[in-house]
Symmetry: C2
Subunit: 329 residues, 2 copies
């Protein structure tokens, strides 16, 4: 069994590889080869304890993510990956960075199928870890020429622009307002630090223009908000990464849009349908499209397995011999 800490995982989590892994996992899911129950969400004193397992019978792996904590105290993430045929526990890894990275990779998959082919200009709202990984996800699937970035704190947005400009080797410009940030953008990434304070709206549907593709990843619990009801109303197509029922229970943005009659279920498609080619990511070049994700165990386990394979190739991580003894009958 290979034990990988947060720094090792980050080093191994190359974005184009993760996008390919998540896309393959979603395709396997669309082929009916995946067992994916609703995540278990247990309350505890100050926060939550969530378990997300999946069994992937196409690729022959299985595993789970366990994460726990609260917005006030912080959250810890952990992924375990098993090989079905041998029954071996392959790896246990810190999934702090990987959770953000697989979310970005999933945004990459959605953007590949939903954004216009010639999309070149990307706007990022947010300056944290998810803003970075989601921008990397988009850049893995489109020839991005220009990035604009906004977050309320001037120093943070300037630092984000500088870091991402060096990393991507393209122009990344910090903007003074979200409106100026998204103006002229073909693709928008909304990845905000949604602490549940204030109304938290970071992107408004009124700002969307014809042909724009919006990815929103921050609202993964009922109290978390980042896009307004108009964002759902103005989108001609809404793609989600999980089952309809789950997103309507878990995402504060979706719950609010439903309450404001702005969430038309007739426009909503699961990502697996799009990846499998059973539904189009967009109807035409002018449609406004929206990808709303809350995360799935398929994303975690396929990304974790890709990291494990790369760790083996490069000889990174700590080997723990004889962990999980086999009980025979």
């Amino acid at each position: 069994m290979l034990l990988l800490n947060a720094r090792e995982v980050e080093r191994l989590a190359d974005m184009p590889r993760l996008v390919a892994a998540v896309e393959a996992g979603v395709r396997e899911q669309a082929a009916g080869q995946v067992v994916l129950p609703p995540r278990l969400n247990l309350p505890n004193g100050r926060g939550f304890f969530r378990l997300m397992p999946t069994v992937m019978n196409g690729s022959g792996i299985m595993g789970f993510k366990a994460f726990h904590g609260s917005v006030q105290d912080g959250v810890r993430y952990f992924i375990a990956i098993y090989e079905q045929a041998s029954g071996r526990l392959l790896a246990m890894m810190d999934a702090h960075y990987l959770t953000a990275a697989r979310t970005g990779a999933t945004t990459g998959v959605a953007t590949r199928f939903m954004a216009n082919r010639n999309a070149r200009r990307v706007a990022v709202i947010g300056s944290g870890l998810e803003a970075r990984t989601n921008l990397l996800g988009v850049c893995a699937v489109r020839e991005v020429e220009r990035v604009t970035a906004f977050s309320p704190n001037r120093e943070r947005r300037a630092a984000f622009a500088e870091r991402m400009g060096l990393e991507l080797k393209i122009e990344v410009r910090a903007c003074d307002s979200p409106e100026s940030c998204v103006e002229g953008a073909d693709i928008v990434v909304v990845a905000t630090n949604t602490t549940g304070k204030g109304d938290g709206i970071a992107f408004r549907g009124a700002w969307a223009r014809a042909g724009m593709h919006v990815n929103a990843i921050g609202s993964t619990m009922p109290k978390l908000r980042e896009i307004d009801a108009d964002s759902f109303a103005r989108a001609g197509r809404i793609v989600i990464d999980c089952q309809t029922r789950q997103i309507e229970e878990e995402s504060g943005d979706v719950i609010d849009a439903l309450a404001n009659s702005a969430y038309d279920r007739g426009k909503v498609i699961e990502l697996q349908e799009v990846v499998a080619g059973r539904a189009a990511g967009r109807a035409d070049d002018d449609q406004i499209t929206l990808f709303k994700s809350v995360g799935t165990a398929v994303q975690d386990v396929t990304a974790g397995y890709a990291v494990y394979q790369e760790a083996r190739r490069l000889g990174i991580g700590s080997e723990v011999p004889d962990f999980l003894e086999l009980k025979t009958f």
Copy 2:
């Protein structure tokens, strides 16, 4: 985070301590301080993948057991323990031995409340790991003077008798038949190697005598059998370690007894009710009583936490620094 392998866990899993830990955990459950969802049971190609989480708000810990495999290929068990207040992952441990040990500890708790106080003679049907741990559990709560043991293989039952005699420092005698083994016994442990082959019945209700207490732990899946329908019919009181619905879905013995109209729900009580003193373990000295367990996450997590505490006290295990980085918002 402390990593404990199978040998370390076995060394730390002192039975009287585990019995006390499981009893405290069941008491906490009875006080309404425990979140315990039905276990997640996912099918995979050749077997199963089960996840059993619990959040214990009285003792301030939480965790889960994950186990997977099949009777043909063998099973691997893994337990993680967290501290709620700090959010820290305290330990990850191999739970091969611990699963058998906590089952034995739970049998100890049930036997404490259900067997006659002056019970001295114990019969064990089975000669494997669970036969051993369940006998240890019984011996932790009663002054056992004599043990008889049966399993179909002569060499295995002789070896079991020799080993347990040395370990317990009392007479342990191997018997040639299950009937002679249980004759005169006050307490019976049925802990057989239920592989699902044949009809698998190792104990029959017809053999029970007045005042006998029977513990049966082997039938934890629909295809696994070890006690017949009569065992349920002849018992005046049946205590189970989980919810009624769960045991009726998971235990082949219970499913068969139900099908043969031998499982009277009016006689069935949850262990937590007995431990909390809201129900008696037996009505009188002559009643035949039956404890049927399938296992719960409360047993796993309380036993795992007891092992962790002992590991810290003795300085056993491998420390993994900085595993599970805290993500702050």
